[in-house]
């Protein structure tokens, strides 16, 4: 009897799997190790200490950049998720019509347009706008982040809406719920996991962004990634590792929280 095909029994499967995981995680592992180095070397480990975490926390530039990153990411994520939710509702709670597919494409196109192109385009537009209205604050950065976060927020929300049983909304209408009440008491509660996923995804994407930020930011508007990039150009110390470790812990924490939150809901 021939056994059914299983990729696990192919020769070299284990070796390849280990190689892949090593390529993915070994660099991160090394990065984490050196974050705890007591010396300022990135190649020579001398002893365990929290020195670089401490130094990063003392560094006003790091603190400022971190706060700015969180500020931009949270505002951008909230606005993007709001926009994406409305877009998802408009594109799923309708009978199909000519042009709907084009709208999907339009909403998702930013995922495919090279980031550098968007970055240059925004740089040009914003420099014009700055000239006209004189405002040079953080708003441009927030606007740019919001723009590229929308498609990321849109994807999980739309997926959730499409998988939702439409008869639930029909049933609500049958039971005297107006359109608003149907949304408020049936659609929205069932949509929450999707909205949370969209919010998280756009928050993380915004937090992580280098290219667009680098182009759009004015002087003194470094976010954490652009600050780190700047540091690398000078003398590189395990401080960058320490910041990375904190960011890593933060995103692991957020994903874990989300996982348990959505599990409890279902």
């Amino acid at each position: 009897m021939a056994k059914p095909f299983s990729v696990k029994r192919q020769r070299g499967f284990t070796a390849m799997a280990i190689a892949c995981f090593a390529a993915l995680y070994l660099p991160i592992f090394v990065l984490v190790i050196f974050a705890f180095n007591s010396a300022s070397s990135l190649s020579h480990f001398e002893g365990v200490s929290l020195r670089w975490f401490h130094e990063a926390a003392q560094n006003k530039q790091v603190v400022d950049a971190t706060l700015r990153s969180f500020h931009v990411a949270s505002v951008a994520a909230v606005i993007a998720t709001l926009v994406a939710t409305m877009a998802a509702l408009a594109t799923t709670r309708t009978r199909p019509y000519p042009g709907l597919t084009f709208k999907y494409a339009l909403l998702n196109a930013p995922l495919m347009i090279p980031e550098i192109v968007t970055a240059v385009a925004l740089l040009i537009v914003f420099s014009q706008v700055k000239g006209w209205i004189g405002y040079t604050g953080i708003g441009y950065l927030i606007a740019a982040h919001t723009a590229f976060c929308v498609p990321f927020a849109y994807l999980p929300i739309r997926a959730r809406l499409e998988n939702m049983d439409l008869t639930l909304e029909t049933a609500a209408a049958d039971l005297y719920a107006t359109r608003w009440n149907t949304f408020r008491y049936v659609t929205l509660p069932l949509l929450w996991p999707g909205i949370l996923a969209g919010l998280m995804l756009s928050f993380v994407i915004s937090l992580d962004d280098v290219v667009i930020t680098e182009f759009v930011k004015s002087a003194g508007q470094d976010t954490l990634p652009t600050y780190m990039l700047g540091q690398l150009r000078r003398s590189i110390t395990p401080e960058v590792n320490a910041i990375s470790v904190v960011l890593l812990l933060f995103s692991v924490l957020v994903v874990t929280l989300f996982f348990f939150a959505s599990k409890r809901r279902n």
């Binding site: 049983d165 008869t167 639930l168 029909t170 049933a171 609500a172 209408a173 049958d174 039971l175 005297y176 719920a177 107006t178 009440n181 008491y185 049936v186 509660p189 069932l190 809901r265």
Partner: protein
């Protein structure tokens, strides 16, 4: 009897331009207050579309839908005092059983005390009191069905719509729920409009049935009317098993016509609206005919070859091949000595009980 729901010349056409589909075509039905009314027909006959128009989920292309005389055809569903039990139940998965049942009342703005009182009453009616705090995913299909029913009945609608609500249940549970539904209809005094493709379900539960096909109503009547006096061939075939015989009317005396069958035998059948010399179709229900030995005596009408004997426990079905090639089925209750009387392949006669043969309306 007052009319609860009036369907007046209602049509529903889906699509636009060249690709239109008429789901419901100029239907007229009058459903009485406190009636258990069934829309029966095969899938795609328009029964669900008609139900959805009564609920307000679809709007008629043409015609009026009256609720106690008021035209509600264009009213949104949340303004209609009509509730629905959905085929897949459509219970809100993020709410408890009790919250599901109370949803309609909350949307109507009833006070908390009133809502909880009514929820308890409903839980009692459907015998689900111990499950009040459960999530809908934690209860069985039969229990979900009861919750769906309680949820739809809680706001005390004028009319309750049921869209094939029993189709997902297993046989035994379905039988149980049929009786239960009937009981609830009786207790609440609410007009029930029930949609099904299951003729047996329709016959056992309904006060009246409308048989639908291809968007049209073919016959409206009590289960007995429809079974005993089907309006046309489709109704006769759809409701229960039926034998069709063709022949020509030879003589008419009062309500009875004597018909010469194609095989040469004569049969008397109840008739309306036929004349001597007409070619007619006669329907005979399997339980009104009997296989008897040749040579036949008395009421035997036609001869054939016994092709198959199927034992069903309570009764036995005999399949007889007639000379014209068609198969005539009789259903006879089993008695201790009946089973071995006729051998497959032997010549038998078919006897039809007096008054059991019926001529279909001319042209039907």
């Amino acid at each position: 009897m007052n009319e609860a729901i009036g369907i007046r010349d209602v049509s529903k056409v889906f699509g636009q331009g060249d690709t239109t589909f008429t789901a419901v075509a100029r239907v007229n039905i009058s459903i009485r207050e406190n009636e258990f009314f069934t829309l029966l027909g095969p899938s795609g006959c328009g029964k669900t579309t008609l139900l959805r128009m009564i609920a307000g989920f679809e709007f008629p292309t043409d015609g009026e839908i009256l609720l106690h005389g008021e035209n509600i055809a264009d009213m949104p569903p949340f303004r209609r005092p009509i509730n629905t039990v959905f085929q897949n139940y459509a219970l809100f998965p993020h709410m408890t059983v009790a919250d599901n049942i109370g949803f309609g009342l909350r949307m109507l703005g009833k006070s908390k005390a009133e809502v909880s009182e009514r929820v308890i009453e409903m839980l009692r009616l459907v015998k689900m009191e111990p499950m009040a705090g459960r999530r809908t995913s934690e209860i069985s299909g039969g229990q979900q069905q009861r919750v769906a029913l309680a949820r739809a009945l809680a706001p005390q609608p004028k009319v309750l719509l049921l869209d094939e609500p029993l189709s997902a249940l297993d046989y035994k549970l379905r039988k149980e729920m049929q009786l239960e539904l009937k009981r609830m209809q009786h207790e609440t005094g609410i007009t029930f409009i029930f949609v099904t493709h299951d003729q047996e379900e329709a016959l056992t539960m309904s006060d009246r049935i409308a048989v639908m096909s291809k968007g049209q109503v073919l016959q409206v009547g009590s289960p007995r009317d429809i079974y005993d006096a089907p309006a046309d061939r489709f109704v006769a075939e759809f409701i229960g098993e039926t034998n069709f015989l063709t022949g020509r009317v030879r003589k008419i005396a009062e309500e009875t016509a004597e018909v010469m069958l194609e095989g040469g035998a004569a049969i008397s059948a109840t008739a309306a609206g036929v004349g001597v010399g007409d070619d007619v179709t006669i329907v005979v229900r399997p339980e009104h005919a009997e296989v008897v030995a040749v040579p036949a005596t008395g009421s035997a009408v036609t001869k054939g070859t016994l092709e198959n004997v199927v034992y069903f426990g309570t009764d036995t079905h005999f399949h007889v091949r007639l000379p014209d090639g068609s198969v005539f089925v009789t259903r006879q209750q089993n008695r201790p000595r009946l089973s071995s009387e006729f051998a497959v392949g032997s010549e038998v006669s078919i006897a039809v009980a007096a008054d059991a043969a019926r001529i279909l309306r001319a042209g039907a």
